[in-house]
Amino acid sequence: MAELLFWPALLAYGEAAVAYFGETRRPGLPGRLATWGVRIGWLVQTALLAAQAARAEGFPWATWAGSLNLFVWLVVTAYLIWGCRARFRLLGLVVAPVAAILFVVARLGGGTDLGAKSHYSSAFLVLHVGLVLAAFAGFTLAAALAAVYLFQERRLKRHDAAILRVPAPALQTLDSLAGKTIAISLPALTLGMLVGLVRLEAEGGGVDALMAVTVATWVAYGSYVALRYAQGWRGRRTAYLALAAFALVIVVRLALPATHFA
């Protein structure tokens, strides 16, 4: 029965995605409906994850689809921390549809089913998968912030007359938040990778392509942090860099079923 929690959660995320779109056309009530959609969706998905954890033998999100389910929850959690404020509603236009689509993909892959069995030790997976997924959730949000930054910057540059009609965060706020999100997420990725390397060392095994791309991702975000905080990079350049690095995150996510979960 608990599997059925997927549907109300999806319905809430879907409603939020549509309402966020409505907010761009007519700000006000659609924005509030969208915010409540995300909140309700998150609560229901939390209940689903709790049910999965209660019924599972070992770590319940050890599959590719399961990890995607957890990933969606982490992204929405990070968004909810400050995304409910009126000025950040535009960000929901990116987050809510992505969350809804990925949640469906997780469902199709069996990631929302109950009673999962894991062959891995729970402690290892909680640390490795949890940290890497948390970092990826942060990078996803940073990419969304960067995308909104570029969208808003373009509107300002082009003197869009309607720019004040839809409330949006200031460019410097978007830039600063993206920077902070990446600065917080990078140590989580570093720790997650270290845990993976320790296990690799202990249990043997070779380096696969996914690991190489993950290292490339780490280098990309490391460069972002270095350029931003040491070289003073700001604005459009850092936004493009955050999006380029996020492309590597997508590659890693897509490559997961072919490598780690093969």
């Binding site: 006000g28 007359a161 009609r165 965060p169 410097q172 604005g235």
Partner: protein, 402 residues
């Protein structure tokens, strides 16, 4: 109790007439108290766009019109509008929400309505009316975006600067030229917390005068590039024939954005500056387009605000209508209580028995009258409330008691 509104506004009367009856808050309060002594309740709302007298009582209309005539002459009285009860309440609710303002949703009117209420002489009806109107005004502003967008070129410039920087507190503003329009833009930025740090002008005297008002440095146009280097926002409004700010003047930014508001015609800022990374140039046409779009947005939001205001006005109407049946309900209860007490006094009972019977009959009476009381209040909110009240008076002989 009949509610009356007598007033004139920019919609029907030109400024030549409005200025005759324009009153400051103190004068408006004094007038309201003076009228209230004669008619009961009165609040006088006077702004640059309207002077309105809200009064309650049988002679309220006559006295309010007389007052306007005395203050502004017969012409003013002839141009005045007169509204009663629901129409008067709806009008005040619309005024408080900024829906009757020249610029829909302007924020100043809500404060003016509050001040008029505070200095006036309201009684039970106007007290409720103004409280409800202030609530409706706030609700319209919080549930719609009617009051959020800028309505002038100066405020549009400041709002756009906020799109770049967020809070403007501590942001450095350089003003180039000491013209009136530039000063308005500087004032709008300063009102949002920005610091005007330098004023560059060809004439030392005017530049120093403007700089002095903001505690800024007056600098020569030759030193402009240095000032721009440390600025976050630049406002230009000179009458120079060529560009005053060119791409090579924008240097040492180190990733810091620069927002330039060019209010001059011919333009002061080379448009190619907008192509530089982190630089945003808005000229007068760009700003006017933003204002026009904002006003269009306000007009659209006004439709939603109208619905909110109508709902609040309807609630007030229901409350006001319930007042009509209150005397009937009170008479009915008094009549019933009188009968109960009289019959109880006739009975020969011990003290304990009397207490018991007194308690039981009181409960019976309350239960019996509860439903008619509720129904009569409900009916009062509808059109047939007075009929119900008349019927109750007739059936129970309440008229003869008066």
């Amino acid at each position: 109790m009949k509610l009356w509104l007598v007033g004139i506004s920019y919609r029907h009367a030109p400024v030549e007439l409005r200025e005759r009856v324009a009153l400051g808050p103190k004068e408006a309060g004094a007038l309201a108290r003076l009228l209230a002594r004669e008619i009961g309740e009165c609040v006088c709302l006077s702004t640059c766009n309207r002077t309105e007298v809200y009064a309650v009582g049988d002679e309220a209309e006559e006295r309010a019109v007389d007052t306007l005539s005395v203050l502004g002459g017969e012409e003013v009285a002839a141009k005045s509008y007169r509204l009663t009860d629901h129409a008067a309440a709806l009008h005040l609710f619309r005024v408080a929400a900024g829906l009757d303002s020249l610029v829909p949703g302007e924020g100043e009117i809500l404060g003016q309505v509050r001040t008029a209420f505070e200095v006036g002489a309201p009684g039970p009806l106007l007290n409720r009316l103004f409280h409800d109107a202030l609530r409706a005004g706030k609700k319209a502003r919080t549930q719609t975006t009617i009051g959020e967008s800028p309505t002038s070129v100066a405020s549009a410039g400041a709002a756009l600067a906020q799109q770049v920087f967020g809070e403007l507190t501590g942001r450095r503003v350089v003003v180039v030229g000491a013209g009136k329009v530039g000063e308005l833009a500087a004032r709008s930025l300063a009102a949002r917390g920005a610091d005007v740090v330098a004023v560059a002008n060809r004439s030392d005297e005017r530049g120093a005068d403007l700089a002095g008002r903001y505690g800024a440095d007056a600098i020569a146009l030759e030193g402009l590039a240095d000032a721009v280097a440390s600025a976050d926002v630049v406002v230009t409004c000179t009458s120079a024939p060529g560009f005053v700010v060119r791409p090579h003047d924008v240097r040492d930014r180190r990733g810091r954005p620069l927002f330039l508001i060019d209010l001059a015609v011919p333009r002061d800022v080379d448009p190619t500056v907008n192509e530089l990374d982190g630089c945003y140039v808005y000229d007068i046409d760009d700003l006017e387009a933003v204002v026009e779009s904002s006003l269009a947005g306000r007009r659209r939001e006004a439709e939603r605000a109208e619905a909110i205001v109508a709902e609040e006005a309807e609630r007030f109407r229901a409350w006001q209508a319930s007042l009509d049946v209150v005397p009937t309900i009170a008479s009915l209860r008094a009549r019933a209580e009188a009968i109960r007490s009289a019959e109880l006094s006739k009975a020969k009972l011990s003290d304990e028995e009397r207490r018991t019977v007194d308690s039981i009959t009181s409960q019976i009476l309350n239960k019996l009258l509860h439903l008619p009381t509720v129904r009569m209040k409900e009916a009062a909110a509808a059109a047939d409330g007075v009929l119900y009240a008349d019927a109750v008076r007739h059936l129970f002989g309440l008229e003869e008691e008066r």
